[in-house]
């Protein structure tokens, strides 16, 4: 399974990598948005889907990545900037995880939301106090093609890592924690370590995505990059896709981004109403998410059964 999955990821990535040479700027941008949400939703589902620790904190990691980019892009090579965004986000998630991963369910969801708002305001305050500004202008920026390929690489890495994790003991531990945390612990899973590591790993992708996307906007401020909607939309996509499946969030990221864009451009005044209704209908009538549509297949693909 893991090998087949990775091969499929490579195939998809090859096609996506050719897009900047085939399509115009707008369609490439649209593809970029899709890829961003592929990266965010897949990495989210890798941790939150498996463990059922529903995190609304993706925007915190995304925003931190964006700020790392703003701080360093003029001085450091591009790969270092991206890696920096990923590392800072992961380190932050690790520390935050140590403090909050003992609470489950709604508590965790609300806490992660609070964490991302707290981060936003703390960055605002810190920037104002120590840099005398809240927003930052990024005049040195790599070409949009570079940004696209970078986000593609992040998305591919997110999917690839999700596939590998799914087939690994680490992934099994995450699923065990989601099924019954105490039980998993009594079977020898070091739950705390696994949770913190999983949370940090998933945050790394959001941080990298934030670092890559920020340079597109010339100017970033906390309101834009810590926008809670980034986190909410990620959760929404992952759950609509089917948080326990691999392909579900991926597919939902594409469907959702394209659908939202299509509705926005076709019905400029009422599209969010349509989107809201579609979302409600999807939640009510697809209890397993989009992945439920090919449920039987997904079952056969379960890694532990296949091995």
């Amino acid at each position: 399974m893991a090998r087949r999955g990775l091969a499929a990821v490579a195939g998809g990535a090859a096609v996506a990598a050719a897009l900047p040479w085939l399509l115009d700027d707008f369609l490439v941008s649209l593809a970029l948005s899709c890829l961003m949400y592929v990266a965010l939703a897949t990495s989210w589902a890798m941790f939150s889907g498996a463990t059922r620790y529903v995190s609304l904190g993706t925007s915190a990691f995304f925003g931190l990545g964006a700020y790392v980019s703003a701080w360093t892009v003029a001085a450091a090579p591009w790969p270092v900037v991206i890696a920096g965004g990923a590392l800072i986000a992961a380190a932050f998630a690790g520390l935050a995880g140590l403090a909050i991963l003992h609470l489950r369910g709604t508590y965790f969801a609300v806490l992660t939301f609070g964490m991302s708002e707290l981060t936003r305001h703390a960055v605002t305050y810190g920037e104002k106090q120590y840099a005398g500004t809240v927003g930052r202008v990024l005049t040195v920026a790599p070409s949009s093609r570079t940004v696209y390929l970078t986000v593609l690489a992040i998305a591919v890495a997110a999917v690839g890592v999700a596939v590998v994790v799914r087939g690994s003991r680490f992934g099994l531990a995450l699923i065990g924690i989601g099924a019954d945390e105490q039980r998993a612990q009594t079977l020898g899973v070091p739950t705390r370590r696994v949770k913190v590591a999983g949370f940090a790993l998933s945050a790394a992708f959001a941080g990298a995505a934030g670092a890559a996307m920020a340079v597109r906007w010339t100017y970033i401020d906390p309101t834009a990059v810590f926008n809670p909607f980034i986190g909410l939309q990620t959760v929404l996509i992952a759950i609509v896709g089917g948080p326990l499946s691999l392909t579900g969030p991926l597919l939902a990221a594409l469907v959702f981004s394209l659908l939202a864009e299509f509705l926005r451009l076709q019905f400029p005044y009422a599209y969010l109403i349509a989107l809201g209704i579609l979302l409600i209908v999807a939640v009510l009538y697809l209890p397993q998410g989009l992945a439920g549509l090919w449920q039987t297949r997904a079952r056969a693909e379960r890694p532990t059964a296949a091995r």
């Binding site: 999955g5 499929a8 990821v9 195939g11 998809g12 096609v15 996506a16 897009l19 085939l22 399509l23 115009d24 700027d25 707008f26 369609l27 941008s29 649209l30 593809a31 970029l32 948005s33 899709c34 961003m36 305001h121 605002t124 305050y125 104002k128 005398g132 500004t133 809240v134 927003g135 202008v137 005049t139 996307m213 597109r216 906007w217 010339t218 100017y219 970033i220 401020d221 309101t223 834009a224 926008n227 909607f229 392909t247 991926l250 597919l251 594409l254 394209l258 864009e261 299509f262 926005r264 451009l265 076709q266 400029p268 005044y269 599209y271 969010l272």
Partner: protein, 394 residues
């Protein structure tokens, strides 16, 4: 599976792109002018108060008159507009669509500094001139983008005018609050040296975050220091909040100045007679020129609401400049850009010209006088006489 997905993605992308290709055919092809602006999200109140109505009104007026005169041919305007959801990434993507996919003839800017920061370099890259009525940041001007023109005077101009006005009216002490964002920070940075140069002492200086719901603790502390003037470098909700709460605690400085939103008709609606004597950023009134009056009346007729007395008219002036440029040099964007950059333009806010990205327009101060918002500073722009001290809250 993944390969199928990837192909499906490409197909869907192309489909979305193709389905949105809105090309209308007619004998005299219309001029396609595109923009994305906030109809939803946090930027929407600002965008809908000061910007999009003017775009719509302008296109309607031009079309009612038969269209724009382009090289002897009357061509109508076709607006291609989208909601930008107040999201920077969506703004970038939509403007790419407008310029690259839709290949519109011209674009109109989005609302607010953040959005213009994202759009200005993009428009410059594709060679589209932009006349931005709601971008207020020296950082943007300092990028020296040839195709970017700011229709608003920058903070150092605005704040210098405010400081002049304060000094001329015998203000010795001032308390100031400002918002924690690019608007507040750039303005406070300009305000401090401006008042210090005039020998005015800042007795209190406090910043506050977006979305604040209670300023009374701050205002009470300020009241205790009894400054001659109060200056709020505020946005509409906080402008009104600061006013209401100053009234609540009976804080009556000689000059009460608040920034964005003071010039909104909403201000008078919620403050009633208390609006009298409140000053703020504003640059025009119906008395400024007959053209301004005509704009005002047309706006009220079309939208059943008044335009604000600051950026709305700058927005309209930008559209006037664009119109003049098209009728003078045709649809060549390079020529339009040159025309804008190198001429003086007659607009409803008076004659303006550009130096780099910056509009050459004096800083002004407005005030609610006798139930209307008037320009009161400097004297040569004034449409009414400045009232100092401000009458106490009723």
């Amino acid at each position: 599976m993944m390969r199928v997905l990837a192909i499906a993605l490409v197909a869907a992308l192309v489909l979305v792109g193709a389905s949105l290709d809105t090309s209308a055919q007619s004998d005299a092809p219309p001029i396609k002018i595109g923009y994305a602006i906030s109809r939803t999200g946090p930027f929407a109140p600002g965008a809908q108060a000061t910007q999009e109505p003017s775009y719509i009104l302008w296109a309607e007026q031009v079309n009612a008159a038969g269209g724009l005169n382009v090289k002897g041919q009357k061509r109508k305007i076709e607006l291609v507009s989208y909601d930008d959801r107040s999201e920077v990434e969506t703004i970038v993507r939509t403007f790419e669509k407008l310029m690259v996919t839709d290949k519109v003839d011209l674009i109109l800017p989005p609302w607010g500094s953040t959005a213009n920061f994202a759009v200005a370099p993009l428009a410059d890259k594709h060679g589209y001139p932009v006349l931005a009525p709601t971008a207020l940041s020296m950082k943007l001007v300092d990028m020296k983008l040839p195709n970017f023109f700011s229709m608003l005077p920058q903070p150092y101009v605005l704040m210098a005018a405010a400081a002049d006005m304060l000094a001329a009216n015998g203000v010795k002490t001032v308390a100031v609050i400002y918002m924690d964002d690019v608007f507040g920070l750039e303005n406070i940075a300009a305000f401090e040296p401006a008042v210090k140069a005039k020998g005015i002492e800042i007795v209190d200086k406090k910043s506050y975050p977006l979305g604040i719901k209670d300023l009374s603790p701050v205002l009470r502390a300020i009241k205790d220091k009894n400054p001659d003037a109060f200056v709020g470098l505020t946005y509409p909700p906080d402008t009104i909040l600061a006013s209401k709460q100053s009234k609540e605690i009976g804080f009556n400085p000689k000059v009460f100045f608040t920034a964005v939103g003071t010039a909104f008709p909403l201000y008078k609606q919620v403050m009633g007679a208390d609006s009298d004597g409140v000053s703020g950023i504003g640059s025009w009134s119906v008395k400024t020129s007959p053209a301004a009056k005509a704009y005002f009346d047309a706006h009220v007729k079309r939208f059943q609401k008044e335009p604000d007395r600051w950026a709305s008219a700058h927005c309209w002036a930008g559209l006037q400049i664009l119109q003049a440029a098209i009728e003078k040099v045709g649809m060549d964007r390079k020529a339009i850009r040159e025309y804008i950059a190198s001429n003086e333009h007659a607009t409803i806010i008076g004659p303006v010209r550009f130096k780099g990205s910056e509009i050459q327009f004096p800083g002004t101060v407005g005030q609610w006088v006798g139930g209307d918002f008037e320009v009161v500073w400097p004297a040569n722009r004034a449409t009414a006489k400045l009232v100092v001290p401000k009458p106490a809250w009723k």
